[in-house]
């Protein structure tokens, strides 16, 4: 199992570094690092883990804020459960499916390194970071435990993305079954293609922190869920779309700020070490894309909707973040602003367009995670076309073609997988709550309780 560390995500170096030939630190890593550097790297990776963790609160509040008060308990419960399910299935099998090491079963498409992490006999001293320098596991970037936890926090994210899109009408039990299967099997299996050192990694597909591997993977399942569930009652009346307003803009705003915060770890941690130059560059592109996403969405919303719609502005921020995620390490500062602007503007138009197609997504998850996830992945092929990533045997050149192949490959597996799982559940236990329950609210239907006991609100929708 030691060999595994070598097939972890290839450390992407910022284009800049490559240009300037600043590879001192990179070389050091190949040969392992000092105890001090190991401690810094690992500390950074732990901090990144926390930041990714707090994204789950961000998702929970964004989704609550954009839906009605009568479904809030349900949403919070789903999002809480998903974190637990994500981590526990990742212990059981996800981690070893995603990073199969030498355990490839079908080509470099599917591998498995056995059930369960962390048996005393499975994790040796080197992996856990015990012993003397030079530290070599993960290039000296982190211990086995940090590795597991950081990746485990990512895993749950994919399922959480689905949660928002299918909100306000999906049955709790079936949703949890879906999430368990998707996060235990689908997410890690397809994740191995790139981050596990699989066939897409070998072809030189570039997805730095997961515009495709995390966001689109979640987004495709969200789209499948929306299609099979149908729209919420009252959303489309006689072919006309009607607004179903979210009940708390402060919750939404809290969520978006927390997600941005979390993205510092999502992207910054994906450097897989505390390399000052690489991490800080990634943080800068990430922040600028988020900021530009806000402006892009605000301007577009102001023009299209006459007044700036806060939900659009905040969706735009997330759109910018998803858009930069694939290429945060390789695009230039100016490109990051451009990517953010485009994704922000696209977010507004995409939300409106999907609504016109009567795809009812209460929180805009398909727009933010799927549409902008795809865009961001392709933008790598546009704005960083020809950039050489890595050095030595692992080096590859970014090209639009490969990016497109990557996007299509994930589409080809994740969307059908989502349709299949949701479809089977629909045929068997059913996935949609009764009309009466939907009207009364899932909080009472699924949980027998209310989110805002005592408060008075109109629930005529």
């Amino acid at each position: 199992m030691i060999g595994k560390s070598l097939q972890k995500r290839v450390l992407p170096l910022v284009a800049l570094m490559v240009l300037l030939g600043g590879t001192a630190m990179a070389q050091e890593e190949a040969a392992g690092v000092s105890a001090e550097m190991f401690a810094v790297n690992n500390t950074w990776m732990m901090v990144s883990t926390f930041l990714v963790f707090i994204m789950h609160l961000g998702f929970a509040t964004v989704e609550s804020g954009l839906t009605r008060a009568k479904n809030t308990v349900n949403i919070l419960c789903k999002n809480t459960a998903i974190v637990a399910i994500g981590l526990l299935t990742y212990v059981l099998m996800g981690f070893n499916l995603m990073y199969p090491g030498d355990g490839w079963i079908i080509g470099k498409v599917l591998g498995f390194a056995g059930f369960s992490i962390g048996l005393a006999e499975g994790v040796d001293a080197t992996m856990a970071g015990v012993g003397a320098a030079p530290f070599t596991y993960g290039g000296g970037g982190y211990t086995y435990w940090t590795d597991f936890l950081f990746q485990g926090m990512f895993a749950a994210t994919a399922a959480t993305i689905v949660s928002g899109a299918v909100a306000e009408r999906i049955k709790l039990g079936p949703f949890l079954i879906f999430s368990t299967i998707y996060v235990a099997l689908v997410y890690p299996a397809v994740g191995s293609w790139k981050w596990g050192g699989g066939w897409l990694a070998e072809r030189g597909f570039h997805d730095f922190a997961g515009s495709t591997l995390v966001h689109s993977v979640g987004g495709w399942a969200a789209l499948a869920g929306i299609i099979l569930l149908g729209p919420r009652l009252g959303k489309y009346v006689n072919g006309k779309s009607r607004p179903i307003m979210g009940h708390s803009m402060p919750l939404l705003a809290i969520g978006v700020f927390l997600l941005w915060l979390g993205w510092f770890g999502f992207n910054g941690g994906s450097v897989l070490s505390a390399d000052p130059s690489a991490v800080s560059f990634v943080l800068t592109t990430t922040s600028l894309a988020a900021a530009a996403g806000i402006i892009g969405a605000m301007v577009t919303s102001w023009i299209v909707q006459k007044k700036p719609d806060l939900t659009m502005v905040l969706n735009g921020c997330l759109a910018g973040l998803v858009g930069i995620t694939a290429g945060a390490d390789v695009v230039s500062i100016h490109s990051s602003v451009l990517i953010g602007l485009i994704c922000g503007a696209v977010a507004v138009l995409s939300v409106i367009m999907l609504d016109r197609l009567h795809l009812d997504d209460p929180v805009g998850a398909t727009t933010v995670h799927l549409v902008c996830g795809i865009l961001g992945t392709l933008f790598v092929g546009v704005f960083a076309n020809g950039v050489v990533v890595g050095s030595g045997a692992d080096a590859y050149t970014i090209s639009f073609g490969t990016q497109l192949i990557g996007v299509l490959s994930y589409a080809a597996v994740c969307f059908p997988a989502g349709l299949l799982i949701f479809g089977l559940l629909k045929l068997t236990v059913g996935i949609r709550v009764s009309e009466e329950e939907e009207l009364k609210g899932l909080d009472i239907g699924e949980h027998g309780m209310e989110a805002y006991s005592g408060f008075q609100f109109f629930s005529n929708m």
Binding site: I444, G448, M449, Q456, F457, N460
Partner: protein, 113 residues
């Protein structure tokens, strides 16, 4: 002049409004209410303690109309609110002595519409 008070299921508000519009009743007031009627409540459980919730969310309409509008209004409310299930609601009709439009000071029949 009559004052019509109606309790309906919250989700029937839009159909009721539409039905009223068709009968040219454009003015009404709406409040949130909690109602207890023939409709069974539901069961909540909070931290292991059960409770039967029997005050259910309702919407209360208040519509002041001239006498000849009473029946059309009642019909419209029934049309919009009836689902045939217990809990559909109730309509109350009362005499209205006077009606004043604050803006103009107009009174009576003219002020109502």
């Amino acid at each position: 002049m009559k004052l019509i008070i109606a309790y309906i299921q919250p989700e029937r508000l839009t159909p009721v409004k539409q039905a009223l519009y068709e009968k040219e009743v454009y003015k009404l007031s709406v409040t949130n209410a909690m109602g207890c009627g023939q409709q069974r409540g539901y069961h909540e459980s909070y931290r292991g303690v059960d409770v039967e919730v029997n005050l259910l969310k309702k919407v209360r309409l208040e519509i002041a109309v001239n006498a000849d509008y009473v029946e059309p209004t009642i019909d419209a409310i029934i049309k919009g609110a009836r689902t045939g299930n217990i809990g559909d609601g109730k309509i109350l009709v009362m005499d209205l002595g006077e009606c004043v439009r604050i803006r103009t000071g107009e009174r009576g029949h003219d002020a109502i519409g």
